[in-house]
Symmetry: C2
Subunit: 144 residues, 2 copies
C-alpha cells in the first residue's frame, strides 16, 4: 500500500463508484428514477419551496444540471416550479404528492439496499474509517 496510489486508490475507487452507480441505476429502474434524480428529489422533499439555486447547492449539482434534472422531474410529475414571489429571476421548486409518495418508498428502500447488499459484511468500524478517509480527501482538495 506504499506505492502506486494512482492505481490502487484512484483508479480502483473510480472503478468501484462506477459499479455502485450501475448497481443503483439497475435497482432504481423499477421506480423509473436515476440515482442523480433521486438526490435532487430527496433534497427537495426536505426543503420544499426553495429556489433552484439553493437546491443546486444542497444536491451538489451545478446550475445547468439542476435545470436538466428538474425538467425530467417535472415531466415525471414529481416536482413543479413556480415563479418566485419577490424575485422574478427565480423559481421556487415544490415536490408533488407523487414525488412525496416516491420519496416515502425510496428512503427505506435505499437504506435496505445499502444495509443489506452494498455494505454487507462491512463492519461499522471499517465504515467509520472509510468515511474518515473520504472526509480527509475532501478537505485535502477543498476549494479546487
Amino acid at each position: 500500500m506504499y506505492k502506486e496510489k494512482d492505481e490502487h486508490i484512484g483508479i480502483y475507487t473510480s472503478h468501484t463508484i462506477k459499479a455502485i452507480i450501475r448497481f443503483l441505476t439497475t435497482e432504481l429502474k423499477q421506480f423509473d428514477i436515476t440515482p442523480e434524480q433521486w438526490i435532487v428529489l430527496k433534497r427537495l422533499a426536505a426543503n420544499d419551496g426553495i429556489t433552484q439555486k439553493e437546491l443546486a447547492v444542497l444536491a451538489d449539482k451545478d446550475r445547468p444540471s439542476i435545470t436538466r434534472i428538474l425538467d425530467i422531474l417535472e415531466q415525471k410529475e414529481l416536482a413543479r416550479k413556480e415563479k418566485h414571489h419577490t424575485d422574478r429571476r427565480s423559481f421556487s421548486v415544490f415536490i408533488t404528492p407523487r414525488g412525496i409518495e416516491l420519496k416515502n418508498q425510496l428512503l427505506p428502500f435505499l437504506e435496505d439496499v445499502y444495509e443489506d447488499r452494498i455494505l454487507k459484511d462491512i463492519t461499522d468500524e471499517e465504515l467509520e474509517v472509510y468515511r474518515r478517509v473520504l472526509e480527509k480527501m475532501n478537505r485535502n482538495i477543498e476549494g479546487v
Copy 2:
C-alpha cells in the same frame, strides 16, 4: 454510523469522487488530457498492440467509450490503430512515441498528486481499510 447509509456513505462517496475527478481534471489540464483518457493511455502503455476489446476490459470501459476515447487519443497523436492481421473485424492499438513520452511524465506526476495532496495526512492503515471497504463493496455487487 448506524443509520442513513444512503446519505452518509452513498451520497457522500458520490460527492467526494466528483470532487476528486474535478481536481484531477484541473491538474491534468496542463497536459491536455482527461482522467479517463489517462486510464486508457496507461493501460495501452502497459499492453501495446492489444485489440480495442482487450483495452476496453483493462481500462474498465464499454466498447462505445473506447471507440470515443481512442478517437481523441488518435487526434492527439498519443495512440494509433492498425487493422488486425488475422481478424479483420478487429483493430490492434498502439501507443505513439508522443504517448510514451506523456505516460513517462504522468506516471510520476500522478503518484505525487496522490501522495502529497489528495491522500495527505491519511495513514497507510486508514488506506488499507479504505481499500478493503472498496473491495467488499465490489464483491457485494459483483455481476450486476
